[in-house]
């Protein structure tokens, strides 16, 4: 007659054992997850501390590791529609023109361009590719406050900045056909994306902060892995008909000192994810950081916000360990001898 009680005890021990096993089992993956969380947040901390380009910060849900069960920040995955979904109407025409501007900026927006670049150089696959500053992720992130200019920017205003800095050109007036077309194309690519979301693949990846930035090593990496296409002199290469195929990375025909890409952390993130073309993520973090340091330590067109003093301009716009403007490299202060910003005056 002891059997039922004995049974109950056995059940109780079994239940406790099962609960313990379950708890241990439950803990194991969670611990692994919180380690990943720490790792994935550390580059974001580096970004927040170092970059003046605040618009690209991914935002984590809270302090890392503060809660044992905290989940990794899940950023929504988004896939843009294919070109075949561009509607066959007036809006579709504008989307197609936007795509044409994006691919052949030199011809289709020439009045606003002052260098040899095109949008698709830095936004690969026509602005579709994740981790190459895709348009769909940017589109749903505006209007937004930008520390770069201290006010809330519309998406069009953001694109004006692309022309002024990355294209070393002139801002198209708001609602100019070029901006309307690019906005329409971006809106099309963002079809179905949630507004305000920090979509996975936005901007360029934030690499873990390096122990040091090694210019000499960067020159070696550049010679081994970048110069084949961009040239040892960084001036890019053109095809048989004169079209620029590989963009210049510094000098008068490249992006100016106000461009996001002139910041080493942006260039390193882009290079890590996308370079050499078709071999993304083949560079080590160190190679990406150092090659970016080398190419962003070369002279390029002046910052359009130049006050007349390199030191003042650095203090106002370039006060970051990842920004070489106003720093001496090989005894020459960058920015001191920059070619003027903007399209050549003679034209």
């Amino acid at each position: 007659m002891n059997d039922p009680r004995y049974d109950r005890k056995t059940w109780a021990v079994g239940a406790i054992f099962l609960a313990l096993a379950g708890t241990i089992g439950y803990m194991l993956p969670r611990q692994a997850a919180s380690t990943n969380l720490l790792q994935s947040l550390s580059p974001q901390r580096a970004q927040a501390a170092g970059s003046p380009h605040a618009e690209q910060q991914p935002v984590g849900p809270g302090p890392a590791g503060s809660v044992a069960g905290a989940r990794p920040p899940t950023r929504p995955i988004f896939t843009p529609p294919p070109d075949s979904k561009i509607p066959d109407n007036e809006f579709g025409k504008m989307v197609r023109f936007g795509r044409a501007v994006f691919e052949d900026t030199q011809h289709n927006a020439k009045e606003f361009v002052g260098n040899a670049l095109r949008c698709a150089n830095c936004h690969i696959d026509g602005g579709r590719l994740a981790n190459s500053a895709p348009l769909w992720a940017a589109y749903v992130a505006f209007p937004a406050y930008r520390s770069k200019n201290g006010h809330v920017n519309t998406f069009q205003e953001r694109m004006q900045g692309c022309f002024l800095f990355s294209m070393n050109g002139k801002e198209p007036p708001l609602n100019d056909r070029v901006l309307v077309a690019l906005e329409s194309y971006s809106y099309f690519l963002a079809t179905g994306a949630p507004t305000g979301a920090n979509l996975s693949g936005r901007g360029y990846p934030k690499l873990p902060k390096p122990a040091q930035l090694d210019y000499a090593h960067g020159r070696q990496v550049y010679a081994q892995k970048c110069a084949l296409c961009h040239g040892l002199d960084g001036q890019g290469q053109s095809g048989a008909d004169g079209t620029v195929v590989f963009p210049p990375l510094w000098g008068a025909r490249s992006y100016n000192w106000g461009a996001g890409m002139s910041s080493i952390d942006s260039a390193a993130g882009f290079a890590k994810a996308n370079m050499p073309l078709g071999q993304g993520n083949s560079l080590t973090d160190e190679e990406a950081w150092d090659a970016a340091t080398y190419l962003d330590s070369q002279e390029r067109p002046q910052d359009p916000r130049f006050s007349g003093s390199v030191a003042e301009t650095r203090k106002a716009y370039h006060d970051s360990p990842f920004d070489m403007y106003g720093q001496a490299v090989d005894g020459i202060v960058l920015g001191q001898h920059s070619p003027p910003s903007g399209p050549p005056r003679s034209q």
Binding site: D125, K225, L228, A240, L277, G278
Partner: protein, 227 residues
Amino acid sequence: MTRFTQPAVIAAAGGFWLMAMSSVALAADGRALAVNGNGKGALPCVACHGAQGEGQPAAGFPRLDGLNAIYIRQQLDDFADGKRNNDIMRPIAGALSPDERQAVATFYAAQTAAKADEPAMADEATISRGAALAAFGDWSKGLPGCNLCHGPDGEGVAGTFPKLAGQNTKYITEQLKDWQQGKRANDPLHLMTTVSAKLNDAEITAAAAYYASLPAVPAASQQRPAR
């Protein structure tokens, strides 16, 4: 001019004359080598690559006219030392001296041949799929468009990225498969090894068909006045 002595002027003029003549001589040697071979084991190039370097599409012998001289020279060097694996070309390139390789490369780079006929032209749908692949690639699998390196319409970029426009179908197809299978591996940074690994057979067919469909000489330069 009065500040220069007469002998110096004569020497300078002589130097220019020599330079001018030597480049003419290089091209002339190249033609002779292409037509006759060198009598030391290098067979005449024209036997397989055609009288003007137009190639033989049916056999998959590539066209050489209009390819960049640096690229041709590099390939000859690679054939000779086995970096580019080819049983036919290895002994031929190996029998050419470095100067002869340079002469042949310079000669073919300067030629413009009419396009040799393909045994069969691909259908329009295949060609247009190839055109899209060449321009845009397929980034869903990390594949860049061919033209991002080989230039607009595959016209080539400098000595590193050869012209593909007007090249024959069989040659392009075979090369892409050789890259895929590691039979050809003389690509800088292994760019072609990486890219070809991402291509399926249908894409190889389409890309080859597209480039073979392009004119040997781009339309724009045909319209240009002769002088």
